[in-house]
Amino acid sequence: MPYIDPHIHMVSRTTDDYARMAEAGCIAVTEPAFWAGFDRSSPAGFFDYFRQLTEVEPKRAARYGIAHYCWLCINPKEAEDLGFAREVMALIPEFLDRSNVLGIGEIGLNKNSRNELQILEEQIEIAKRFDRLILVHTPHLEDKLKGTRLIIDALKNARIDPGRVLIDHVEEHTVTAVLDGGFWAGMTLYPDSKLTPQRAVDIIECYGRERIWINSAGDWGHSDPLSVPRCHVEMRRRGYGPDLVAKISLENPIQFLGQCPGFRPTS
């Protein structure tokens, strides 16, 4: 069954992963800019990374019939140095008009520091200035609850249309605030942290199937690029038909991402 993985870091994955995802039905991915597992030594490292996201990965994905889209930003883990972060942010506008760029992301918070919050607010302003969608990373583990609240406050203070923002990595203690705020919610399926397929389906059962999607956030760490179809199996185990898979992994991503005119995954 065709599906979209709306958050995966393919720069960290092998070509074999593209092949296996295509065999499992993946027709499109969206790849947010993120922390590479180490701190870049200069803004030039980000220039090359943005080229990789906009030039290299679309070609690699296309070989397997997968449409590749991306998001650009300075990630919160490298946002503590304000000067460095602003140099990277200055690079973003020249890439924004490239055909596979959807918006600004994954911006957000990591340790919930003042500087991270400052850079988050400045990147929200970039999205406003260029009228782009936003994809938000919420912090890990014990920092998630506080970070999600700070992020929602920052978005509300900036008077951003919540329907143009997806707040990712929600769990049971943050999903209500995200959905009640009118934002879209992303559920990330990870082997240890974040959500299992079972808990993701629990959340759908408890909070509904509107403004919500699932993703693998596959990257260089312990993660599974096939976790989205594995979650579809969990849906079927509970007796759900293909309509739920289509809603969560096709119709919802298309509804949110389709607000960007360049998003045409099925063309």
Partner: protein
């Protein structure tokens, strides 16, 4: 009693999920046993272990929403941004949980 939002009947939930959660329970027990056998000892005082010990009673208190309440128990409940980020990782339990 929680709202009946699950697509399965109670017996179906047990049939489908009992074995995997039996295994997870035994993994948790084995982790605590391993900690007891560690030499030199000391891990019992780790805030992450203490957080687990605080969370376990929530499984049996009958109040529902266990997952959300355990996540909240493990969370930092302060509201102001910290002055600076001195590390990039997270532990899995907030220091305040240990108080």
């Amino acid at each position: 009693m929680a709202d009946p939002t699950c697509s399965l009947t109670g017996p179906q939930v047990v049939d489908l999920y009992f074995m995997e959660h039996r295994a997870k329970l035994l993994d948790l027990a084995a982790f605590l046993d391993r900690l007891d056998r560690a030499s030199p000892p000391g891990g019992q005082d780790d805030l992450r272990v203490r957080a687990l010990q605080l969370a376990i009673p929530l499984l049996l208190d009958g109040a529902g929403n266990r997952t959300r309440r355990i996540l909240e128990l493990l969370s930092d409940h302060s509201s102001e941004p910290i002055a600076a980020a001195h590390s990039q990782g997270a532990l899995g339990a907030a220091a305040a949980t240990d108080s």
